[in-house]
């Protein structure tokens, strides 16, 4: 398994995946830093924003940015995992490898381990860099950045395990499409749950909840969003009867949801491993 993890690290480095992702992210962070700096020094009715006003604007913008980042992370996980496995199967790269005295589980395990480390490392690095840039520009720093990065990493792992399962059965592009559709379904489930709660419609609420449990990427986003909300904002918004949505979450994430998601990732990966072990190459 270690041999395949090292091989995957080497592939990602030599094919310039990591370098490209880091450069593109650095450009993105630099641009957002410039944007936050512009907000901090802008004038409204002739005066610069107060510290509180800047914190409220920055807090909301950080959540919006993190929301976009969660999409990037999910797609990155899908398009790193699905095509590489499916292409190695289709192109015949795996034939001489799988004929060696090793288990298929070690091939998939090593590859997934390396991809998981790289994607989670990327999430930690990019999100911390963004938070630090925002602090440098505005003085605002989200309350629980490490927990937020942790939940964003769980989104990546949800999509990584799903992409691995899809790629163990389907061609690369088809696997990618399946994952993108599932991610969209989870997002719709989250919206449905919000609307169902607002309109007090149990059917729509349950549909949303079940969808979010079946594909817990959106549920993990809401956990991440909660960790980025300043306490003052939560108290003020909750007092105004505002329901949770993609950009505001009133309640802390239930521990059972996190446990469910971790079990979900493990179960989907186990299914992928079994599917890969049983398939003809």
């Amino acid at each position: 398994m270690i041999a395949f993890a090292l091989l995957t690290f080497r592939e990602l480095a030599r094919r310039k995946f990591v370098l490209t992702a880091l450069i593109a992210t650095a450009v993105l962070i630099a641009l957002t830093g410039w944007g936050f700096s512009y907000i901090a020094h802008s004038r409204h009715h002739g005066s610069v924003p107060t510290r509180m006003e800047l914190a409220v604007v920055s807090a909301n913008l950080v959540i919006l940015l993190a929301y976009l980042f969660s999409f990037i992370v999910a797609m990155l996980a899908v398009f790193v995992a699905a095509p590489s496995l499916a292409n190695d199967i289709e192109s015949g790269v795996l034939l001489p490898v799988a004929a060696r005295p090793i288990s298929r589980a070690s091939i998939l395990g090593g590859r997934t381990l390396a991809l998981g480390i790289v994607v989670c490392g990327y999430v930690a690095l990019a999100s911390m860099a963004e938070f630090l840039v925002v602090r440098a520009a505005t003085g605002y720093f989200p309350p629980h950045p490490a927990l937020a990065a942790g939940y964003l990493s769980l989104i990546a792992l949800v999509m990584l395990s799903l992409a691995t399962l899809a790629a163990s059965k389907l061609p690369g592009i088809a696997a990618g499409i399946v994952c993108v559709v599932c991610f969209g379904l989870a997002w719709m489930g989250g919206i449905a749950q919000t609307l169902g709660t607002y309109f007090e419609n149990d059917v729509i609420t349950h549909f949303g909840t079940i969808t979010q449990l079946l594909i817990p990427s959106d549920a993990m986003w809401r956990c991440a969003a909660y960790q980025l909300e300043p306490l003052a904002l939560i108290e003020r918004m909750s007092g105004e009867h505002v329901w949770s949505g993609p950009f505001f979450v009133a309640n802390p994430p239930p521990a059972a949801l996190v446990v469910w998601t971790l079990c979900w990732i493990a179960a989907i990966y186990a299914a992928a491993s079994r599917s890969f072990a049983l398939r003809d190459l």
Binding site: E11, L95, P96
Partner: protein, 303 residues
């Protein structure tokens, strides 16, 4: 199953939905033998090879490789495999590919040994070049080196010369003879009949997923096809005179009496001489592997 045999299969089959790719594959290959597996494209050869290598699960039947069930990891430790669809990690160098496979095969992978393998397949000068700069032929040479890592007891070669030039093919033939000298068993899947004819001890013909003939080259290709007669006709035409010995096929100044065996030669010559013919030559004609291929596979080309 006989553990002294290198490969033994009984009724191995593979179905993809309603399509039967391989049906009732029964083979017995002894250790140290070079076995040719012949058939047209789509006959089920590569699927059979994949089942032997443990890469595809049989739909039916059983088999052993080196005395262990097909797919068993202990048997795969002694297996060298060159797939038909060969492709190696393009971002690795030739030497790194060998290091990877040496590690996976559980052997030491000493620099000296791996360099010797690259030397053997003519790639030592390109040991540090990335695989994505290699031609198809060079990748196939690399695949041969990969298949020989760890001195395998059973080497499974699926179309090993399909991308090689005549010189490369000659080198592969020498390599196969070298393997035979070391008592390595070789399963050679090919449709290059001349190649098989030169190196194989035994062959099997497969078509539409079924084995239609199996045996030594003499048993299959060396069977008497007929007798070629060169003679000046006497009172009767030669063709008419020789009809009772077999099917007569005139060919220029000679005729081929198909079906006539060595035992019928004295009677055939006597008939000609009695009729006043002048006999210049009477020679037995053996079928070539290619002729047998066309006969056994229903005239299907090898493409």
């Amino acid at each position: 199953m006989d553990s002294s045999s290198a490969l033994s299969t009984r009724g191995l089959s593979k179905r993809f939905g309603s399509v039967t790719a391989v049906a009732d594959l029964t083979l017995e290959i002894s250790r140290g033998e070079i076995f040719g597996f012949l058939g047209p494209n789509g006959a089920g050869k590569t699927t059979s090879v994949k089942m032997i290598a443990g890469l595809a699960a049989p739909s039916g039947g059983t088999g052993t490789l080196l005395g262990l069930p097909l797919g068993d990891r202990r048997a795969r430790r002694h297996l060298g495999y060159l797939p038909e669809l060969f492709r190696y990690q393009p971002w690795l160098t030739a030497y790194e590919v060998l290091v990877l496979h040496a590690r996976l095969a559980g052997c030491s992978g000493e620099r000296k040994t791996l360099n010797a393998l690259l030397e053997r397949v003519g790639l030592i000068e390109r040991r540090s070049a990335r695989v994505d700069t290699f031609s198809k032929g060079m990748q196939q040479r690399l695949g041969l080196a990969v298949a020989l890592i760890g001195d395998p007891q059973f080497v499974l070669l699926d179309e090993p010369t399909s991308a090689l030039d005549p010189l490369g093919r000659q080198e592969v033939r020498e390599l196969l003879r070298d393997l035979k000298a070391r008592s390595t068993t070789v399963f050679l899947n090919s449709h290059l009949l001349s190649e098989v004819e030169q190196v194989c001890d035994r062959v099997a013909f497969v078509t539409r997923g079924r084995i239609v003939a199996q045996g030594t080259l003499e048993e299959i290709a060396g069977a008497q096809r007929g007798v070629r007669v060169s003679a000046q006709a006497g009172r009767s035409p030669i063709a008419q005179l020789l009809q009772r010995f077999g099917n007569v096929h005139p060919n220029g100044k000679s005729v081929l009496v198909e079906g006539a065996g060595p035992k019928s030669v004295p009677a055939l010559v006597r008939a000609l001489v009695d009729d006043g013919a002048e006999v210049f030559a009477v020679e037995p004609v053996a079928a070539t592997l290619e002729q047998r291929f066309f006969e056994l596979t229903g005239g299907g080309g090898t493409q």
